[in-house]
Symmetry: C2
Subunit: 493 residues, 2 copies
C-alpha cells in the first residue's frame, strides 16, 4: 500500500519533470519512470520466467530452498531500452525545433528559403550525435539480447566470448568516423627514465609496421585525428592506430564479462553496477560543473550522464528484489547489459582508460581468478562462498589441489605468504590439499571472517565505492602529475 503511494508519487513527480529544454532533468524524470515501471513489472513477470525455465535455486539459504526467477535483469534492460528510444526527441529537441521552424514556415521568404537551403545542405541537425546515440543503443540492445539468449540456452563460453565485440561494431565505426583519436598519452616518468625514450621509439616503430600491414590489407588507414593541438609543453603521444580499435573491442568484451564473474551473492551484480553508476556520475559531474571544461569533454560527459541516470532507475528497482534475501536473480542478461553500458559511455565519452580505473576491483578479481580460469589450479563448477546452515553465515569455499600439480602448489604457497589465500593442509604430511577459491568474494571472507550474505555484499560494494572515489581523486591529482596534464582544463582524454 505504502509502496504503491510512493511509486505513484515518483511517477507523478517524474512526469512533471519532463521538459524539452533540459536533457539532464528529462533523464532524471525517465529514471523515475524506469524505476516505477521495473518495480511494477518484475513481480508480475516472475511466474512467466519460471515457466520457461528461467529459474534457479539460491544455494546460500536455509531449507526449504525454493526456485526463484532467473534473468529478471531482462525487465530492467528492456524497460531501459524503450526509455532510451523515448528520450531521443527530448535530447535532440532544440535541433528538431530549429530545423522544423526553419522548414515549415508558410510565410517563408525567398531570402530565408535560400538561407535555409544552405543550412540544410550543411546538415544543421547533428547527425553525428544522433549516430552516436543510435549506435550506443544498438550495441546495448544486441548485448542484452545475447545475454538473454545465454540465460535461456546456456551458450558455450567459447561461442559467446567474442560476441560482445561484434555487438560493439557499430560503436567502433562511429568512433572511427567521428573521433579517430587512437593515440594515448605517455606518462612523463616513462620518458624521463633512462632508456624510456628509446623503448618508446621501438614500440612506435612496431606499431607503425603493424598499421602498415593492416592498411595494405584493408585499404583503410587508422590513425590520429588530434582534436587538440600538440605543443612543445604538451604531453607525449603514442599513436596506436588500428591497435586502438583492438583495445576498444577488448574493453567491450572485458567489461561485461568482468561484472559477470564478480557474482553469486544476493545483490552483488546489481549492487556493483549501481555503485559503478555513482562513481561514473561523480566523475561526470566533475566535468559538468567545472568551469573552463572544453566543449568536447563537456558533451562526452553529458552523454555519459544521460545514459547512466535512467540506468540507475531501472537498476535500483531490480536491486530491491535482488537484495538479500533475493526474490529474483538478475541473470547474465543484466551483467552483460550493465557491463556494456559502462563500456559504451567509456568508449564514446573518450574515457576508456578512466573506465578501467573505476573497474579496478573487477580487474583485480579477474587477474586473481586467472589461475583457476586458465586451469593452472583446479576450478570447481561453482566458486561461490559456502553457506553454513548452523550459523547462517557465509564461509570461503575451497578448491582441491592435486598432489602432482607443483606449479599450482607453489603459486598457492606464494599467495598464502602474502595472506592472499587461505589453505588447508593434510594432517599427516602437512602438504597443502585445499585452497580458498580465487575470487575477491572469498578473499573478503578470508580476511574478515565469516559474514552474513548481506554484510558480505555490503563490504564488497563499500570496497568498490571507496576504490572508485579514490580513483577519481587519483585521476585528477596524481594523473595530471604523471602525465603532465589534466583534461579537466585541457580537453584531452
Amino acid at each position: 500500500m505504502y509502496s504503491r503511494i510512493i511509486r505513484l508519487s515518483v511517477l507523478v513527480v517524474s512526469l512533471s519533470l519532463i521538459t524539452v529544454n533540459n536533457p539532464l532533468q528529462t533523464s532524471i524524470a525517465f529514471a523515475g519512470i524506469g524505476y516505477v515501471v521495473t518495480y511494477t513489472l518484475i513481480p508480475r513477470l516472475t511466474k512467466s520466467f519460471i515457466r520457461v525455465g528461467l529459474k534457479g535455486k539460491d544455494l546460500s539459504k536455509p531449507p526449504p530452498v525454493y526456485e526463484i526467477a532467473e534473468s529478471m535483469g531482462a525487465v530492467s534492460a528492456i524497460t531501459y531500452l524503450f526509455l532510451m528510444f523515448g528520450l531521443i526527441p527530448f535530447i535532440f529537441f532544440k535541433y528538431l525545433v530549429s530545423f522544423t521552424s526553419l522548414s515549415n514556415d508558410e510565410s517563408i521568404s525567398d531570402n530565408y528559403a535560400t538561407q535555409y537551403q544552405s543550412l540544410a545542405n550543411n546538415r544543421l541537425f547533428p547527425h553525428n550525435k544522433l549516430a552516436e546515440y543510435l549506435s550506443a543503443v544498438l550495441s546495448l540492445q544486441s548485448t542484452t539480447m545475447l545475454g538473454f539468449l545465454d540465460d535461456l540456452f546456456d551458450i558455450k563460453w567459447r561461442h559467446k566470448f567474442f560476441l560482445p565485440a561484434v555487438a560493439s561494431l557499430p560503436l567502433l565505426i562511429v568512433y572511427y568516423v567521428d573521433f579517430s583519436v587512437t593515440s594515448v598519452v605517455v606518462p612523463k616518468f616513462i620518458t624521463n627514465i633512462a632508456g624510456g625514450e628509446e623503448l618508446l621509439q621501438l614500440l612506435n616503430q612496431l606499431i607503425i609496421v603493424g598499421n602498415y600491414i593492416v592498411s595494405k590489407v584493408s585499404g583503410l588507414s587508422f590513425g590520429t585525428l588530434n582534436d587538440y593541438v600538440v605543443t612543445e609543453d604538451s604531453p607525449k603521444l603514442l599513436d596506436l592506430g588500428v591497435f586502438y580499435y583492438g583495445y576498444l573491442a577488448s574493453v567491450s568484451i572485458f567489461t561485461p564479462n568482468s561484472i559477470n564473474i564478480l557474482a553469486g551473492v544476493n545483490g552483488l551484480e546489481v549492487g556493483q553496477s549501481v555503485v559503478l553508476g555513482i562513481i561514473f556520475l561523480a566523475n561526470d559531474f566533475c566535468y559538468l560543473f567545472s568551469s573552463n571544461v572544453p566543449q568536447a569533454a563537456y558533451d562526452s560527459h553529458l552523454f555519459s550522464v544521460i545514459f547512466i541516470i535512467p540506468f540507475m532507475g531501472v537498476s535500483l528497482a531490480l536491486l530491491q528484489y535482488n537484495w538479500f534475501p533475493a526474490k529474483v536473480f538478475v541473470g547474465d542478461t543484466y551483467c552483460y547489459f550493465s557491463g556494456m553500458l559502462f563500456a559504451i559511455v567509456g568508449i564514446l565519452g573518450h574515457f576508456s582508460k578512466t573506465l578501467l580505473l573505476f573497474l579496478l576491483p573487477q580487474i583485480v578479481n579477474f587477474i586473481y581468478s586467472v589461475p583457476q580460469l586458465f586451469g593452472i589450479v583446479p576450478c570447481p563448477r561453482h566458486r561461490l562462498p559456502k553457506f553454513n546452515i548452523k550459523d547462517g553465515l557465509m564461509y570461503p569455499s575451497y578448491g582441491q589441489l592435486q598432489e602432482s600439480n607443483s606449479v599450482g602448489k607453489n603459486l598457492v604457497k606464494f599467495l598464502a605468504t602474502f595472506g592472499l589465500i587461505s589453505t588447508r593442509r593434510d594432517e599427516k604430511t602437512n602438504e597443502i590439499t585445499e585452497f580458498s577459491n580465487m575470487t575477491i568474494i572469498n578473499l573478503v571472507l578470508v580476511w574478515f571472517g565469516p559474514l552474513r550474505e548481506d554484510t558480505l555484499c555490503t563490504v564488497l560494494l563499500a570496497i568498490q565505492l571507496f576504490v572508485g572515489l579514490f580513483m577519481i581523486g587519483i585521476r585528477h591529482t596524481v594523473g595530471p602529475w604523471l602525465f603532465g596534464y589534466d583534461n579537466l582544463s585541457w580537453g584531452v582524454s
Copy 2:
C-alpha cells in the same frame, strides 16, 4: 553430403564476392553467408529451442504427430542482424577511406590541413545515411526481440499491439530530421470530379487545425520540406503534417501483424516474405537500372536492395526447413522481423504507399478477417484449414453462427452471394449455421477445392507474386496516369 558441398561452395563464392567498392555485390555475398550460417545453425539449435518450451504440434499431419521446434525464425533474424552489423564498413567504405586518407597523412601540408578541417566541419562523412542505417537496424532488432519474447511468454494481444510503433520511433525521428516529407500526392481524378476540390480544401483545413494543436502542445512543427519544386503543372499535394507520422507508425504496426495473421500453413510465413522480397527487389531494380532516375530515388532503392538481399539468404535457408512437411516452425519472431523489414525499407525508402500496394493480399486478408477479429461473427481459437487424415488434404475450417446474431447472419449471406464464403445450413430450418473461417487461406480452399498443404501454400504464394508484379505494373503505368506523374523520372514518391 551433397548439401555440405553445396554449402561450402556457396560460402567460398560468397567470401570471394565481398568487395569494398560495390555495396550491391557485397550484399549478395552476405546473403550467401547468411544462407549457409542459417542452414547450418537451425538443425543444431532445434533441441535447445524445444527444451525451453519453444515447440509446437503440426496439426495438419497424420499421426503420430511430433512436437517440432517453434520460433526458429529467431536464428534467421539474429544471423541477419549480425550480418547487417558487419555490412556497415562495406557500405560506407568509400567515405571511410576518403575520410581517413585526408586525416592521416603524416605529410599533410598546412594548406591541406585547413581544407580538411573545413571538410570535417561540414561533415564529409554522410552521418545522416549512417543514422538511417543504424535506426533501421535498431528498429528491426527491437521488433525481433519483441517477437521472440512474444513466442516465449505469449504476450497479451493488447500489450503487444502498439509495441512495434515504439520500436519504430528511432526510424520516425530519422525520417523527421532527414526527410520531413509529410505531403501526399492527390490523384488527379479527385480534383477533377465535381466537389473534389472543395472536399480537399475542407480536409486540408481540418489537418491544419490538428497540426496547430499538436504544435502548440509539443513545441514541434510538422510539415513539408519539399525536396522537389511544385510548379503549375505538377501534381497537387496534401500536407498531412503530424498525421503523416501517425500513418507511418500505423504502417509499422500493420505490416508485421498482417504477415503474422496470414499464417498457419507450412512454408507460408517465410514463403510470402520471400515472394515479397522478390517483388520489392523487382521494383527496386526498376529504379536502379533506369536512366534519369533522380539521385534521391536511386539512393532509397539502393538502401532497400542492401537490406532485402541478405534477408533473402537467411529466409531461403529457413524456408527449406519450414516447407511442407515442416521440420521447424518460424514463430512470431520471424513474422515480426520480416514485416518490420518491409515497413522499414518502405518508410526510409519513401515508398510506404507502394509498400501497401505490394501487401494487397495481406490487406485483403486483414479486411476479410475483420468481422471475426472484431467479434461481429464468432472467431474460433484456430482458423487454420482442417486436415483430413483420410485423403491427406486440407479443407476449409468452419465457424459456428449463433441463432441470435442477425448482423453476422446477414453479413455471411451477403458474402455468400458473391462466392466469398462457404456456408453450411441446418437440414431442417435451412438456416445458415456454419461459415468458412474468414481468411484467404480458407477462401482459396473454398474456391479451388481441397488441396494438399504444399499445393495450398504454392497457390497462395503464386497469388502473392502475381498481385505484386501486377502492382509494379500498375504503379508505373496507371499510377502516373492517376497522379499525373511518375517518380521513375520525377523524383517524387
